[in-house]
């Protein structure tokens, strides 16, 4: 697996899309792997009883997927420095989460990628990821 070097990345570089089908298995397995046992992330009846239309992705998973989106592209040697997410509409089971991103900043060897995770209802998460290519 290659890791992008500083000279291979520029402001304006567009990341390839990442499309994640939000199967119930995806929602539930990630909720449990993030140790989040809140009913709305694994119990359809429980989620509906609380006013949601279905189970939905938990925030710890949103953070994990945003991170994965950037390292899938930048490579395993990229060092993630920070993730800043504004949370939007819920990502319900049965929906599809599509990540898009663009490099928007480059300072002192650190890049900033603007990331958008969209579902059918709109923006699920928008924000930025800061990372450094290796060797800095």
């Amino acid at each position: 697996m290659r890791t992008l070097t500083e000279d291979q990345i520029a402001i304006g570089t567009v990341l390839p899309d990442l499309v994640i089908p939000l199967t119930p298995t995806m929602i539930i397995s990630t909720a449990l792997a993030t140790m989040d046992f809140t009913a709305v992330h694994h119990d359809v009846e429980g989620a509906r009883a609380q006013g949601s239309k279905d189970i939905f992705l938990n925030i710890l998973t949103t953070m994990g997927l945003v991170e994965r989106y950037v390292t899938d592209w930048a490579g395993p040697g990229a060092l993630i420095r920070g993730i800043n997410v504004r949370l939007g509409v819920p990502a319900y089971a049965g929906d599809t989460l599509t990540f898009t991103g663009t490099v928007v900043g480059h300072e002192n060897g650190e890049f900033t990628v603007e990331v958008r995770g969209e579902v059918s209802l709109g923006d699920h998460a928008t924000g930025t990821v800061r990372f450094s290519p290796p060797g800095e």
């Binding site: 993030t34 140790m35 006013g51």
Partner: protein, 354 residues
């Protein structure tokens, strides 16, 4: 829920928040387990994250890390409370602020709006982390798309020994759900207890709401620009709305229901009149989606429907809590009462599960 009691509550909230902010960082219980490969493997497997520095010792050794590291975004996972371990948890400086908003203010709804993590370094298997939480902000009351609420912000720092390895800023909106009676969708999906992940979305974007409608409310709500015509014929209807009743005029002589209200029965010409309280259910008889022109106090597009009541009359009202594209003729509805400002409540219509 008068302005006076809100003001008193606001003062007590702010005083409590000030004390908690001043108290600074409060350590929480250490992670149940040190950073470990099995939990990393479960996490990367579920996430579909194939980065080998997290799980493959050889690839990790050859990487800039020189060995296995945990995914940075797993930081919060290490100190999550588990299914039945919650009981022994120490209170954080956030708990009683959320509790006061919830229990005394009626701000029972909660949505998370921001999660911001900074990783000072990668953590490795064997490190035992512990979190420390500090309250950093309480702002409100604000008007948002979800209802009036307060933004509560706290920071968690994770330590390995004395070293801070990562930090998180987390912000939630605690809001008063707009539907006082709704059996579903009252926004109270997760209370403060679920604070490790306190998001429930009712299809609206809290950020948008805060940005577009956010307004300091301490001096009373801005009056809604559209007022109903209340007179001797219609006063009973608006008195009903104020009590959460949908009142339909009934002829005192022949018993026929009529809406909108008027002075005389169109069937028997009697001026003797009373009312009945409708069930609050209805369905879309006809509707339009209003895009233009702009209407003061409203965001376009919005839906204006003629609602057929099972009692036999039709009533005009807005359909809310769903996208205009979801509205259709025959759609089952339930009345919901929205406080538009300090004085005016309007009966609106929300989708009802068939």
């Amino acid at each position: 829920m008068t302005v006076t009691t809100d003001a008193a509550l606001h003062e007590r909230l702010m005083a409590l928040a000030e004390r908690r902010i001043a108290a600074g960082e409060v350590p929480g219980p250490a992670a149940a387990d040190p950073v470990n490969l099995p939990m990393i493997r479960h996490w990367t497997d579920a996430m579909g994250d194939a980065n080998p520095v997290y799980t493959d010792p050889e690839a990790a050794a050859a990487s800039p890390h020189g060995g296995i590291v945990a995914p940075p975004a797993m930081i919060q996972v290490w100190t999550m409370p588990g299914v039945n371990r919650k009981a022994g948890q120490r209170p954080t400086p956030v708990d009683d602020v959320l509790a006061m908003l919830n229990d005394e203010g009626g701000y029972t709804g909660v949505v998370a709006t921001n999660c911001e993590q900074t990783y000072h370094r990668y953590v490795r298997p064997g490190e035992r982390l512990f979190p420390a939480t500090r309250l950093t902000g309480l702002a409100g009351p604000k008007r948002t798309a979800l209802g009036e609420g307060y933004f509560v912000t706290w920071n968690v720092t994770w330590y390995s020994g004395d070293e801070a390895v990562a930090e998180m800023l987390f912000r939630v909106l605690k809001f008063r759900p707009r539907k006082p009676e709704g059996p579903v969708g009252d926004g109270n999906a997760q209370d403060g207890a679920g604070r490790e992940d306190t998001r429930d979305r009712t299809g609206e974007n809290a950020q948008d709401g805060a940005g577009e409608n956010g307004r300091d409310r301490t001096r009373g709500r801005a009056p809604y620009p559209l007022r109903p015509a209340i007179n001797g014929d219609t006063a009973f209807f608006w008195e009903g709305v104020a009590r959460g009743e949908l009142r339909i005029q009934r002829c005192g002589s022949c018993g026929e229901l009529r809406h909108p209200p008027g002075p005389m029965c169109p069937s028997c010409r009697s001026t003797d009149r009373g009312y009945v309280v409708a069930s609050g259910e209805g369905e879309v008889f006809s509707y339009v989606v209003h895009h233009n022109p702009p209407v003061p106090g409203r965001r376009t597009p919005f839906v204006v429907a003629v609602v057929q009541l099972p009692e036999g009359v039709r009533i005009v009202g807005n359909v809310v809590d769903c996208a205009p594209s979801e509205v259709g003729i025959g759609m089952p509805l339930r009345v919901t009462y929205r406080q538009m400002d300090d004085e005016l409540t309007l009966p609106l219509w929300a989708p009802r599960e068939a």
